[in-house]
Symmetry: C2
Subunit: 210 residues, 2 copies
DNA sequence: ACCCGTCTGGACTTGCCGGTCCATTTTTCG
DNA sequence: CGAAAAATGGACCGGCAAGTCCAGACGGGT
């Protein structure tokens, strides 16, 4: 599914640019106004395109466009955590990553594009679920990788189950973000991150104290 | 805001029954088919009511009805965790509660009524945010209360910040549920719960091991 | 029996929004 | 340059679903 050109990938240079403009513009307006209330006309006017272009590049209609936006947003999620997420091999880097995550989602304010997107397109399209599933798997993998790096550096006990702990931390992040969206308070996200890292710290090879 | 009759609370006995029937029926159909695709006609046919009744009991239209359903669902969330959530004073009760939570959300399948609801009605209505905020506060409070009970029973170190740990655990639950919805895998939820409880166990007054 | 407020049924209106269609312009390529 | 393919503009359609309205049924209080 990754080597197929998906039909609309490369007709011409201009075409590709327009398509990209549509996806990015759609992502913006969706982030600002929410999926539920955004119409094709909103996207059209924001991106300076015409109805026919929308359907030219996304023959599947609105659903296909939303799916493309979801993929676009999903790609950004992990990118925005770099370079920290890629090198979680010391306590400092974990802390930096933690701050980057908090900052990213606090800035994003109260609109979770992805969350809303796959709640809208949701369980109908199998494609949507695949996007989320893959994103989560990669995310969890990177966290687990970082934990193993700590273990390799002798900072964390090898007894710790990195995959399981990474899953728990990831769940905490997701929930923290969700609660930031719905309550406007980032305290839950911070608590989840700090608590997760504390959990690692508590599993040092040499317990700091009794 | 809690002592005001909200105008439509008690016109007559029959009226109250009909109103309740509408809310419950709407909750059912929303859970089954999702907010995005559910129309007033779906609710109408499910509850055996007419259009005029819907607007008679919810003059504010669909939004007001959805809000009422959100409140209804929010009330169920904590109820469904009883009696365990109310008496988290031993390791066994924590475990029982943990199992109850997993079971509840695994059964619920892949439709998060509440989540979808306040993503739909969402940030527009201030009322929606209030419902979620209050639910989360109560939930967190109960968890923190349980943690303090463990402390009082000498099972957990008094040094532990119950409120913060409860916030982190709650975030983990929320994220775990969200990921259960979107990926279909309850592993994240279980990991979050177990990891959170482990975190408590690691803070026993007498460290189990070195 | 009566009256009045509540409750109910369902036809009707209205506006919106996804999707279609064709005419026109621009680009590519031999 | 010229033709074919791609890209673009925008009018138009059709359906659907929210919301309106009025006519009538019920039911309790005097």
């Amino acid at each position: 599914m990754s080597d197929a050109p998906t039909a609309k990938d490369a007709p011409t240079a201009k075409g590709r640019a327009t398509r990209a403009r549509i996806v990015e513009g759609a992502a913006e307006v969706l982030r600002e106004r929410g999926v539920a209330v955004t119409t094709l006309d909103d996207i059209r006017s924001r991106t300076g395109t015409s109805k026919s272009q929308l359907f030219h590049y996304f023959p599947g209609g609105k659903d296909e466009l939303l799916l493309a936006v979801a993929q676009f947003e999903a790609d950004r999620v992990l990118e925005d955590q770099q370079p920290h997420l890629g090198s979680l091999d010391s306590w400092e880097s974990w802390q930096q990553w933690r701050d980057a995550v908090v900052e990213r989602y606090e800035r994003q304010g109260d609109h979770c594009s992805l969350g809303a997107l796959f709640l809208q397109v949701g369980r109908l399209r199998p494609g949507a679920r695949a996007i989320v599933t893959q994103l989560m798997r990669q995310w969890q993998e990177q966290l687990a990788h970082g934990m193993r790096a700590l273990q390799d550096n002798g900072l964390v006990s090898p007894a710790l189950d990195a995959d399981r702990t990474a899953a728990a931390l990831l769940a905490g992040i997701q929930g923290g973000v969700a609660m930031l969206m719905s309550t406007g308070d980032s305290m839950y996200l911070k608590a989840a991150l700090d608590s997760g890292i504390d959990h690692l710290r508590a599993a040092t090879v040499e317990p700091v104290r009794a």
